[in-house]
């Protein structure tokens, strides 16, 4: 068996050159990428565990003296590889706008209020079953300058490492039934058949009665190459 990882099947990721998303025009490479066989460099990856995550980092509602405004939600799920195997002990990073649609970032100019009780940054390590869980508030939608009256669909940003350099993934999680999907070129850049994989599911079983609603979002990273190699 090969030690390599499976390649991304077509129809998974958005093409780098997606003209509807204007910033791609000057930033997407013009040359096709050069095929690289996987050596140890690609099939290994950083172990970013202890020390990177402090107790409470998974709860974005308790990082300040008071609670942030907005609808409190639980976002949880599992990190798996495409063979269905759990990816345990891997760093998951989350960042998002506040309930008014404003990031606590110096360059965000959207005239919506900052929330002194919300930074919008969380991190955690997956457990032995690949599970993760965040407590946060539902972010607001926000406008951007891509086209006339452009609004991003409501989303959380996620960053994942997996176990290998080739498994590294930065993505966004969306909410079911968002009316903004149809005009968001970042969401629409993903091949249609794969878009649903970025949308979380309402999860009644994980809600906490009288406290918070819950959404489930499983994240699937690349698995091992199953093709036997002749050597």
């Amino acid at each position: 068996m090969s030690t390599a990882y499976a390649r991304d099947p077509g129809g998974t990721h958005p093409p780098l050159a997606s003209p509807g998303y204007r910033s791609t025009l000057l930033r997407a490479p013009s040359q096709p990428p050069v095929w690289l066989e996987h050596s140890l460099t690609e099939v290994t990856g950083p172990v970013l565990g202890e020390g990177r995550v402090l107790p409470g980092d998974h709860d974005l509602t308790t990082q300040h003296a008071g609670e942030p405004l907005g609808e409190r939600i639980i976002v949880h799920g599992r990190v798996l590889d495409s063979d269905g195997r759990a990816v345990p002990d891997t760093l998951v990073e989350l960042w998002q706008a506040n309930a008014a649609g404003r990031y606590a970032h110096v360059r965000d100019q959207h005239p919506a209020p900052l929330d002194p009780h919300f930074t919008g940054v969380g991190r955690c390590l997956t457990d032995s079953a690949g599970g993760y869980r965040f407590v946060t508030v539902k972010p607001g939608a926000y406008p951007w300058r891509n086209h006339e009256n452009a609004w991003r669909a409501t989303h959380l940003h996620f960053s994942l490492f997996g176990r290998a350099f080739v498994q590294r993934l930065v993505t966004q999680m969306y909410f079911p039934g968002d009316p903004l999907f149809g005009q968001d070129p970042i969401f629409l850049a993903v091949p249609e058949a794969a878009r649903h994989r970025m949308i979380c599911a309402f999860d009644l079983s994980a809600t906490v009665p009288d406290w918070a609603l819950a959404y489930r979002f499983d994240i699937v990273l690349r698995g091992r190459d199953q093709t036997p190699t002749e050597t």
Binding site: L16, P33, L40, E42, T44, A104, R168, R197, L221
Partner: protein, 170 residues
């Protein structure tokens, strides 16, 4: 087979979440140096909102060796500049067992990149023959060579256009 989660752009507002005070420090031992560079877009403009991540073995070619993180992460500043403090990586074999020249794997994330782009830093003064480099046309090979600088090496990244950096499909 489960369907893979698609990639999305890191967007413009990640630096407060994804950069760490010690992110640029892969290693600061006596043999360490600064690997620095600038990121340019297709019109030669500075890219001041990119995230650069590096991955490498220690000087003996060992990945994840105890005490050696091997991973660096640095956002670009207002001048499109990034830097990681590190050491020369050791030799790692290619899949066919031949040696590869010392190299550092690099991911570039940015607004306008719907997926990361992946490249490799090689060192212009290395004497090891490399199967990946030698398979490239000479003019494109140049884009992967870090040059000696006052305090280490310099490696610019051109996302698009003239002297566009070679990016790899991994």
């Amino acid at each position: 087979m489960l369907g893979l989660t698609p990639s999305q752009t890191v967007g413009p507002f990640f630096s407060h979440a994804l950069t760490w005070p010690d992110g640029p420090v892969v290693d600061e031992g006596p043999d360490s140096f600064w690997l620095r560079g600038t990121v340019f877009d297709g019109e030669g403009a500075l890219v001041s909102d990119a995230l650069i991540e590096t991955w490498q073995p220690d000087g003996a070619g060992r990945f994840n060796h105890p005490g050696f993180r091997g991973y660096g992460r640095c956002g670009t500043d207002d001048h499109g500049r990034w830097a990681v403090r590190t050491v020369l990586p050791g030799v790692v074999p290619a899949p066919d067992g031949r040696p590869q020249a010392p190299h550092i794997a690099v991911s570039v994330f940015a607004r306008g990149l719907l997926d990361r782009v992946v490249t490799r830093v090689y060192f212009a003064d290395s004497t090891v023959e490399d199967p990946v480099l030698s398979a490239l046309p000479a003019d494109r090979r140049e884009t992967l060579l870090a040059r000696r600088s006052a305090d280490g090496y310099e490696f610019d990244i051109r996302l698009r256009g003239e002297r566009e950096t070679v990016f790899f499909a991994v």
